[in-house]
């Protein structure tokens, strides 16, 4: 049972000239045994996906392996011809991807897509194939298999699509399954179910699994063995217990320490703290269609009552579609609420016009999720940071001087003000975005998933920075996130949202340790690596 299925032996892959380093993967060796789940962990740019693509023979043309062997059951895949490799994929090798919507053909029914594999690789009759596909759909616990069989991918949810991908990957009982961040695009509760499913099916068939992830929570949940990559080098490899429990390499320790603990750190502020912002029965209904087409209404937020107290960090957590981003954009007056009202320091701010909007914008600022898209690529960093102050009538040299001070606050050199955004990494760009928001000296900062797009170690640095800035500037922060660990680390109080409504709110300690509502309990239960204590190793 423990024979090695996949042996990666001294694999080296060269990057095209002009890349930031010479080798994508350098001299990496590890094995995946039958019945084992090996997690390949690393931050972005560590080369983990390159290894998966090498094994599948799907490397882009400008990358090529220059040394080493990739043995699948003793057969070197690097020396195998294209035709043989095509046969191996599906029969012996299978892969599931991060985004199931793009991996499935949108104009083909799900059943037919799975059926295609059987038709290619087996000699079953069409009736037998249909039975087998239906059986497999049931096996991955999709409800009503005949309906799913004839459904198109867009008619299914993200979790259901990923189940289709899993059914597709495992229907030929491959020896090796490669899963490239298969749950990253899914909500936590769905992620927990998918991880459980992969684990079960893998045990049942004794499949070897190479599981690629950046999330140590997921690693703690699913891994038998862990290999840690950094910038193309394998820094540590061993059993999950060894690597997570007693990491040998400093980089592994840093990564583990950067994973926020699922234990609340900050107490709630005293009950008599003044309220900066308050909402009453705030609602938002999006209407699409109309005119000639069918009118459709989507309730994104309904009767939201929250209070933001001066100097606190209020966390708003929820899964995708819970309305948390809609709420954030209403609070920032970027979209107009359809009902209810928002109060800032005691006065109603709904439907502001002209000078009143400007006054509001001085007090409330936003940091967005995607650091790559939230800076105008055609304007320098300095122009971005001084834009707000200049809009509010600050003199140019004064605004520039403040920008330089802010650069120091977010720990970047003032020289970067002359540069363009594309020259910076994600974490640096997020620092720039924070500086831009702080340039108008706001009282309330709304951070909409501000660390979700960043690697853990960078995420830890940004969280630390936000904390420090809050202390120094006495800032109030509304922190929107889907990540309970992050919320636990930075927030004083938490608001849990589901389907546009507030399900539960209270001090962080109370919500995490004695959740009252079933949904909150399920959410906390589903947090990956729940039983494992990170950050203390």
């Amino acid at each position: 049972m423990n024979a090695p299925v996949l042996v990666i032996d001294a694999l080296t892959v060269k990057l095209p000239s002009g890349a930031d380093r010479e080798l994508a993967v350098r001299d990496v060796s590890f094995t995946v045994n039958a019945g084992e789940v090996r997690c390949l962990v690393g931050e972005s740019g560590s080369g983990k996906s390159i290894i998966a693509q090498t094994v599948m023979g799907l490397l882009p043309r400008n990358l090529r392996p220059t040394a080493g062997r990739v043995l699948l059951n003793g057969e070197d895949l690097l020396q195998t011809g294209a035709e043989r490799l095509r046969r191996l994929r599906g029969e012996k090798l299978a892969m599931i991807f991060q985004e199931p919507m793009t991996a499935l053909n949108p104009v083909m029914r799900c059943g037919a897509q799975i059926d295609e594999l059987l038709a290619q690789h087996t000699s079953m009759s069409s009736a037998q194939r249909r039975d087998r596909v239906l059986q497999m759909l049931e096996h991955v616990r999709l409800p009503d298999p005949p309906r799913i069989y004839s459904a198109y991918p867009h008619q299914l949810s993200g979790g259901q699509r990923q189940r289709i991908m899993i059914a597709m990957a495992l229907i030929l009982k491959p020896a090796l399954l490669i899963a490239d961040e298969p749950t990253t695009a899914l909500d936590v509760t769905t992620q927990a179910e998918i991880l459980k499913l992969i684990r079960e099916l893998q045990r049942e068939n004794g499949t070897a699994v190479l599981f690629i992830t950046h999330d140590f929570g997921v690693v703690a949940d699913i891994a038998d063995g862990v290999s840690v990559l950094r910038l193309g080098d394998l820094v540590e490899s061993g059993s999950a217990r060894e690597v997570l429990g007693n990491p040998q390499h400093a980089y592994t320790r840093i990564l583990l320490q950067a994973v926020p603990e699922l234990v609340s750190r900050k107490p709630a502020l005293p009950g008599d703290t003044a309220c900066v912002m308050r909402t009453r029965a705030l609602s938002k209904v999006f209407v699409t269609g109309g005119w000639l087409g069918g009118r459709r209404e989507v309730v994104a937020a309904k009767d939201v009552d929250i209070e933001v107290k001066r100097g606190e960090t209020l966390g708003i957590v929820g899964e995708s579609g819970s309305g948390k981003s809609t709420l954030a954009r209403m609070l920032a007056q970027l979209i107009e609420p359809s009902g209810g009202e928002i109060e800032l320091e005691g006065s109603t701010v709904s439907a502001l016009r002209g000078a009143a909007v400007q006054a509001f914008r001085r007090k409330v600022q936003v940091v967005f999720q995607d650091p790559y898209r939230s800076l105008n690529p055609r304007r320098t960093v300095g122009a971005a940071i001084t834009e707000g102050p200049l809009n509010f009538g600050t003199a140019r040299n004064e605004a520039w001087q403040r920008a330089q001070e802010l650069m120091q606050l977010v720990r970047l050199s003032p020289q970067v003000l002359q540069r363009y955004p594309h020259e910076f990494s994600g974490g640096q760009r997020q620092r720039i975005c924070i500086a831009r928001a702080l340039a108008v000296q706001p009282e309330l900062l709304i951070a909409d998933e501000a660390v979700s797009a960043l690697d853990v170690s960078v995420q830890a640095q940004i969280l630390e920075l936000l904390d420090e800035i809050q202390q120094r500037l006495k800032l109030t922060i509304v922190f929107i996130t889907h990540d309970l660990r992050v919320a636990a680390q930075i927030c004083n109080r938490i608001v849990v949202m589901q389907h546009g409504r507030v399900v539960e709110q209270g001090p962080v300690v109370q919500v995490f340790e004695q959740p009252r509502e079933a949904y909150t309990q399920a959410l906390i239960e589903a947090a990956p690596g729940k039983g494992f204590r990170f950050g203390v190793a």
Binding site: H249, I254, L334, V366, R373, L375, N391, Q415, F424, S425
Partner: protein, 313 residues
């Protein structure tokens, strides 16, 4: 200090200035841009410097030199009565006018029409497109009007305008520009609609940037690359349409040498003297090809979907 720790601290370090090729350098390396640009520059130069390139008056009628074949020599008599020997490199037409001179001077009209139409339609297209993309209630009305304009064939419009105003270069330019504007409007509107949703525009709104500044500072500069590309295609098609209009006799007056006019006049005796149609035709094809090559090259270098840029690591 541990090497891994310094590696992480590198995240905080300032990056070196970008070393990647700038947009201009990338343009210079693209073969479509090189070839298209060179050919176009030569054509432009030739038509501007036509008087210096051994040409004679392109509308000088000389019955003695009628229907000469390319390469023939003859005696040219100017209106002043002066005569001198002249070699007709590309032959003459049925009025004895020098095709070589006519083609070079005709190039001026084509290029002026092409460039002017491109600039005018981009200008009005951007103006209307920005308004339609930004002002919600205007969008529906403007776009229906544009749909209406697109339904009018350019040639029909040209005939109507010529009947209304008289044939002139401005009539032709207006007639070609009007049907081009809706295409630019559609492009700009769709670009504005997608750029408007970008987080950096939302961030600028949150910073209190007024709507006009938002459009000029954040939205317009990010539509430029596709617009430049669209502009070259408009230029090529305008040159072609001008020739078609002249050929059909609804363009410039017949006494002005344009490639279309030369071809239209040569058409009657095409079987005997094909050079009357052939040479302006070759120049026309070459110009349109060069402009289109330039456009393709610009698209490849300026459009991030075709060129890999250093925007994301």
């Amino acid at each position: 200090m541990d090497p891994a720790l310094t590696e992480l601290d590198a995240e905080r370090a300032i990056p070196a200035p970008a070393v990647g090729p700038t947009a201009w350098r990338r343009l210079g390396k693209n073969w479509s841009v090189r070839i298209g640009g060179t050919v176009l520059a030569l054509l432009l130069l030739a038509s501007l410097a036509a008087p210096l390139l051994g040409t004679i008056d392109p509308s000088l009628i000389d019955p003695v030199n009628r229907d000469l074949l390319p390469g023939a020599t003859g005696e040219v008599m100017l209106l002043t009565g002066e005569t001198f020997p002249y070699k007709f490199w590309l032959g003459t037409d049925s009025y004895g006018r020098d095709i070589y001179s006519r083609v070079l001077y005709g190039g001026r009209v084509s290029l002026v029409v092409g460039v002017t139409v491109a600039l005018l339609s981009l200008f009005f297209g951007v103006l209307i497109g920005l308004a339609a993309g930004t002002i919600r209630w205007l969008d529906g009305v403007v776009m229906r009007v544009m749909d209406g304009l697109m339904a009018i064939p350019g040639i029909l419009l040209a005939i109507a305008l010529v009947a209304l105003w008289r044939a002139s270069i401005w009539t032709v330019i207006v007639a070609i520009t009007i049907p081009e504007i809706p295409r630019v409007v559609r492009l700009v509107r769709s670009l504005v609609l997608s750029i408007r949703e970008e987080p950096y525009v939302e961030a600028a709104r949150a910073l209190g940037t007024p709507t006009l500044a938002l459009m000029l500072r954040h939205i317009l500069p990010n539509t430029l690359a596709p617009l430049i590309v669209q502009g070259t295609y408009i230029c090529a098609s305008a040159i072609l349409v001008e020739a078609i209009l002249s050929f059909l006799g609804v363009g410039l007056p017949t006494d002005v040498p344009t490639w279309g006019n030369i071809m239209a006049e040569g058409r009657l005796q095409f079987q005997e003297f094909p050079h009357n149609v052939l040479f302006p035709g070759i120049f026309l094809a070459l110009t349109v090809l060069a402009v289109n090559m330039l456009g393709d090259g610009l698209r490849d270098t300026l459009d991030p979907r075709f060129a890999k840029r250093g925007d994301r690591p």
